[in-house]
């Protein structure tokens, strides 16, 4: 699946509108929504305090959001921009690929909640493709 010029425009424009909220949304998507709806995802964080409002989880959500912001800025070369993270996920974290879909879905839900007007069907499609492309890069060195 290839990101068309229209997809890239949709993603850049939506991410731009999120502005300074990216970190907060990353936290909401990861902590509140992914862990709540898909409890198996918590198995990757046994070393975290997962209680509501945990500072560790908030920080991690921001980390994920910052990485996505970087990916948005380098959509023409996702493998290049995400190379280090790709190594990390392949050799150290080894998060099962199914989980990227779960987090991606919860990112979409978070954005839909906070930006209902921007979240048009076309933008929904572009974002889903973008998260899918990022996930593919992050799992590309798994085997």
């Amino acid at each position: 699946m290839v990101l068309s010029p229209a997809d890239k425009t949709n993603v850049k424009s939506t991410w731009g509108k999120i502005g300074g909220h990216a970190g907060e949304y990353g936290g909401e998507a990861l902590e509140s929504r992914t862990f709540a709806s898909f409890p198996t995802t918590k198995t990757y964080f046994p070393h975290f305090d997962l209680s509501h409002g945990s500072a560790q989880v908030k920080a991690h959500g921001k980390k994920v959001a910052d990485a996505l912001t970087n990916a948005v800025a380098h959509m023409d070369d996702l493998p290049g921009a995400l190379s280090a993270l790709s190594d990390l996920h392949a050799y150290k974290l080894r998060v099962d690929p199914v989980n990227f879909k779960l987090l991606s879905h919860c990112l979409l839900v978070t954005l839909a909640c906070h930006h209902p007007a921007e979240f048009t069907p076309a933008v929904h499609a572009s974002l889903d493709k973008f998260f899918s492309a990022v996930s593919t890069v992050l799992t590309s060195k798994y085997r």
Binding site: A36, V109, P121, H124, A125
Partner: protein
């Protein structure tokens, strides 16, 4: 069977009453066809599906979406026996419609996005979790009679 606590049931009831089935139905099916275009394979007879605008304004998509979401909402009344409640529909989707059950999961997740868009902050993580549970139960029930 989907087990919901009293709190979870209350969360579902509260939102269920406010769901405008024709709006949510049409938007859910429309978005499925836009976001996952390969799902259009089941709808050759629906006419113009050539662009997001064409899809979202297509009368057949809206009508069918309403039918599907109505059926899902009815499922919410049968959480104790989803497999029984959806048995006939399961047979239909396998034997006549030939729909890969993977599509039920896709539709369920699109519906969650649509509910999130409509209800905003009211669609809390806890409410989302309950809907994910229920929709997963419905997807399983719809796949149950496949052979």
């Amino acid at each position: 069977m989907v087990h919901l606590s009293a709190e979870e049931k209350a969360a579902v009831s509260s939102l269920q009453g406010k769901v405008k089935v024709d709006v949510v139905g049409g938007e859910t099916l429309g978005r499925l066809l836009v976001v996952y275009p390969w799902t259009q394979r089941f709808f050759d007879s629906f006419g113009d599906l050539s662009s997001p605008d064409a899809i979202m304004s297509n009368g057949k998509v809206k009508a069918h979406g309403k039918k599907v979401v109505n059926s899902l909402i009815n499922g919410l009344k049968n959480l104790d026996n989803l497999k029984g409640a959806f048995a006939k529909l399961s047979e239909l989707h396998c034997d006549k419609l030939h729909v890969d059950p993977e599509n039920f999961k896709l539709l369920g997740n699109v519906m969650v996005c649509v509910l999130a868009r409509h209800f905003g902050k009211e669609f809390t993580p806890q409410v989302q979790a309950v809907f994910q549970k229920v929709l997963a139960g419905v997807a399983n029930a719809l796949a149950h009679k496949y052979h």
